[in-house]
């Protein structure tokens, strides 16, 4: 019995999605649970699994198409089951989608099948469209390495290998040539000097470019504009002494394998979560004009830079979890976010967010509140700075953090107290371990 597969609803606020890529072609057999397509929402790229076993009978959408939730995207059928156009129409009748054009011809199917046939053995296959050659030219890994050592641009060379492949011999010949011409210096440091100054003629300046705003960017745009225009932000910055924290981190990391090392941010997540426990009013959301929801759970969102935007992954119940678990969860979720493969639960339910630009060397900044939360903490770089301690000038490890808070929910004094409690955890970090 043929069935329709529809655009899934991934997350409560998803209205439509983009069909990025088909992973099952028409005619491919399907096993229940196999991934058939990738869907992009404004939050992530998600894989759609087949709920049926059988055959991918017909695609109802092209790659790149934007479709509303629940729109049919494909028809799957049992092995050997054939559907007439009328039967397809009947199947689609309830869904409001027109039957697509004629099915793919037998010839096209044969070509598609041939394309899938495993490449024959042997090295030099024909060039594919869009093929990218390392170094811009066909070259062996050894040639590329030697070229890089001598800073030779491969584009300067002609390769003597098959189909113009640059091999070790070509580089050696080129270097010998330079030496023969008395350009030994150059032979050692080819390409080190700056290119001649380009003349600025109008023709060479690139034209303006209008690019489409990605779905993720649109979502960020909407949320940030809404937040910044409607939430009365106020900002408090405090300096934290981080010497003890840095020493503790170094000590702990000695015992941890490379892939489990703790970051400064992991400590901050834990410290923020513990401090929030004492400030339920900051772990809150505006419900409506007359209510604020104080969350029972402390779920700390961590902003992650991804290509073309940022996403906030959520470490749930961070106040309850040991540092190592926080570190692992955040690392795994951030990695999924960067690959655009987050799970809906990775990015839902945060009650307070942290934006950390410390790794970029930022000295101080303020973040925009991630609605419907009541506040966000902007964390800057840990730096060694001259400081006065007990009347003496010393070199101290310090970090600045700025809280942006919603003035409808809280006030300066409360936020300042929160920042002070945060100091008790960050400056005496053993408290984070017990």
């Amino acid at each position: 019995m043929a069935e329709l597969i529809t655009m899934p609803k991934l997350g409560f606020d998803m209205a439509e999605g983009t069909l990025v890529r088909w992973l099952k072609a028409e005619g491919d057999p399907l096993v229940k649970g196999e991934v058939i397509a990738e869907i992009e929402t404004d939050k992530a790229t998600v894989e759609v699994e087949s709920g049926y076993a059988g055959v991918m009978l017909r695609h109802l959408a092209d790659e790149g198409a934007d479709l509303p939730v629940n729109a049919p995207i494909a028809i799957v059928a049992e092995e050997g089951e054939a559907l007439s156009d009328d039967e397809i129409d009947a199947l689609l009748a309830g869904s409001g989608v027109k039957a697509p054009g004629k099915p793919v011809s037998e010839d096209e199917k044969a070509v598609q099948a041939a394309k899938k046939v495993e490449e024959t053995l042997g090295d030099d296959q024909g060039e594919e469209k869009g093929e990218t050659l390392a170094g811009g030219k066909r070259s062996s890994p050894l040639a590329r390495r030697i070229a890089a050592e001598h800073e030779i641009a491969l584009t300067k060379l002609e390769g003597s290998g098959p189909r113009g492949r640059i091999v070790k011999q070509d580089i050696e010949d080129y270097l010998a040539e330079l030496r023969a011409e008395g350009r030994e210096q150059e032979a050692e440091t080819v390409g080190k000097t700056l290119q001649p100054l380009a003349s600025f003629t109008a023709g060479e300046i690139p034209d303006d470019e209008v690019i489409a705003i990605s779905r993720l960017r649109q979502a960020i745009s909407r949320r940030m504009q809404d937040s910044f225009m409607n939430i009365p932000h106020f900002y408090l910055t405090r300096v934290y002494k981080t010497g003890a924290l840095m020493r503790l981190r170094k000590e702990l990391n000695q015992f941890l394998p490379d892939e489990e090392k703790l970051s400064v941010n992991d400590f901050i997540v834990k410290a923020v979560a513990l401090a929030l426990r004492q400030f339920p009013n900051l772990n809150a959301s505006i419900e409506d004009d007359v209510h604020v929801r104080r969350h029972g759970r402390v779920n700390v969102g961590v902003a992650v830079a991804v290509e073309g935007g940022l996403m906030t992954v959520v470490c749930k119940d961070a106040d309850q979890k040991p540092l190592r678990l926080i570190a692992r969860e955040v690392r795994e979720m951030a990695s999924r976010a960067r690959e655009r493969k987050v799970k809906p639960e990775d990015i839902e339910g945060s009650t307070f967010s942290i934006s950390n630009l410390g790794m970029f060397g930022i000295d101080e900044f303020a973040a925009i509140i991630n609605p419907p939360e009541a506040a966000i903490l902007a964390v800057s770089a840990v730096q060694d700075v001259p400081a006065v301690e007990d009347g003496e000038l010393v070199i101290a490890s310090q970090m600045k953090a700025t809280i942006s808070a919603d003035h409808r929910v809280t006030d300066g004094a409360e936020a300042a107290e929160f920042m002070a409690v945060l100091a008790e955890y960050l400056e005496e970090p053993l408290k984070l371990l017990v």
Partner: protein, 326 residues
């Protein structure tokens, strides 16, 4: 040193080890009264008697299973399987018992077991009796797989295998039994298991081979040498553990490699060795690694077709020229 055939070298290794250690015994089809299908154990029955040179029924599962039991209880059996094609009948014993027992029982069980068998093709024995499935056995951790290419290595490696506390599949090649070479006569002459060996030095191209393909590679190297191309021939000798050090060291000098095996190419020894070259020496790759192997067909019986399907010296020579873009 004495000049002897591979057959004599293997025979002397067995004889010396049986003289040295009375726990060592041989079991297999026709190994006793008949003296072995390939005459390797000729005279053993008269010298060591029926308890230490045991003729068995034609039942490979029973031969290997029995040998495993004997090894578990303190003997040092050498089980002989007439050809590796029959090892499939004993696959469960080899894979699920010999390769696993030591690991599954916390090291309490030692299996000082050698399974001697014969691989390879080229004698018109038909598709089912001419296979070179060595790589299949090398797939399983827990089993050592050894396959010598010279008489001296055959002797030294077999003696090491018999003295080893681990199960060893010792793969011989029927077409090499007549090949002669210089062999040390020292009764404690041992070659280490799991060490590859450079059989010929050269700086232009690395040829990796084992077993029957070693003499073939050396022959191809001589032809190349006549043209001024010096090939280094690395003999793997052991497929598991696989020692890549001499291969990688050689490749880092030559930047070009040809891997030769008598078996099929897909999922074979060449696949493994070339993958490791790319992993271990990617920055030294100057040309794609070439694999020379058997045509991917069940081997024909017809003599000319059979030779056409098997890797020849000419194929190795041509592959070397190709990786040199010569």
């Amino acid at each position: 040193m004495a000049r002897m055939s591979m057959r004599e070298a293997i025979s002397s290794a067995l004889w010396e080890e049986m003289e040295r250690d009375e726990r060592v015994f041989i079991m297999g089809e026709e190994v006793g009264v008949w003296g072995g299908t390939y005459a390797v154990t000729k005279g053993f029955y008269d010298r060591f008697g029926e308890k230490r040179v045991r003729d068995t029924p034609i039942a490979e599962a029973a031969i290997v299973g029995g040998a495993i039991g004997a090894a578990m209880t303190g003997a040092r059996p050498i089980a002989e399987l007439m050809t590796i094609n029959f090892a499939f009948v004993a696959m469960d014993h080899i894979v699920n018992e010999a390769a696993k027992l030591h690991y599954m029982f916390a090291g309490q069980i030692k299996l000082p077991l050698v399974i001697r068998t014969v691989s390879g093709a080229g004698r018109q024995l038909g598709a089912t009796h001419s296979q070179t499935p060595d790589a299949i056995f090398a797939h399983f951790p827990g089993l050592k797989v050894v396959s010598p290419g010279t008489p001296a290595d055959a002797k030294g490696l077999l003696k090491s295998a018999i003295r080893s506390e681990d199960p060893v599949l010792f793969i011989e090649n029927a077409t090499l039994y007549q090949v002669k070479g210089e062999v040390p006569e020292d009764k404690d002459y041992l070659e280490p298991l799991g060490k590859s060996k450079v059989q010929r030095e050269g700086d232009d191209v690395t040829i990796v081979a084992y077993s029957k393909m070693v003499p073939a590679a050396l022959e191809a190297a001589e032809r190349l040498s006549a043209e001024g191309i010096e090939a280094e021939v690395v003999d793997l000798r052991s497929l598991r553990p696989l020692d890549m050090d001499p291969v990688v060291a050689s490749f880092k000098r030559t930047n070009r490699a040809v891997i030769v095996e008598e078996g099929w190419r897909s999922y074979g020894v060449g696949s493994e060795v070339s993958a490791r070259i790319y992993e271990l020496a990617f920055d030294y790759v100057d040309a794609p690694v070439k694999r020379v192997a058997q045509a991917e067909v069940p081997l024909p019986y017809n003599a000319r077709l059979e030779q056409l399907a098997l890797p020849q010296i000419e194929d190795i020579y041509q592959a070397a020229k190709e990786v040199l873009y010569g």
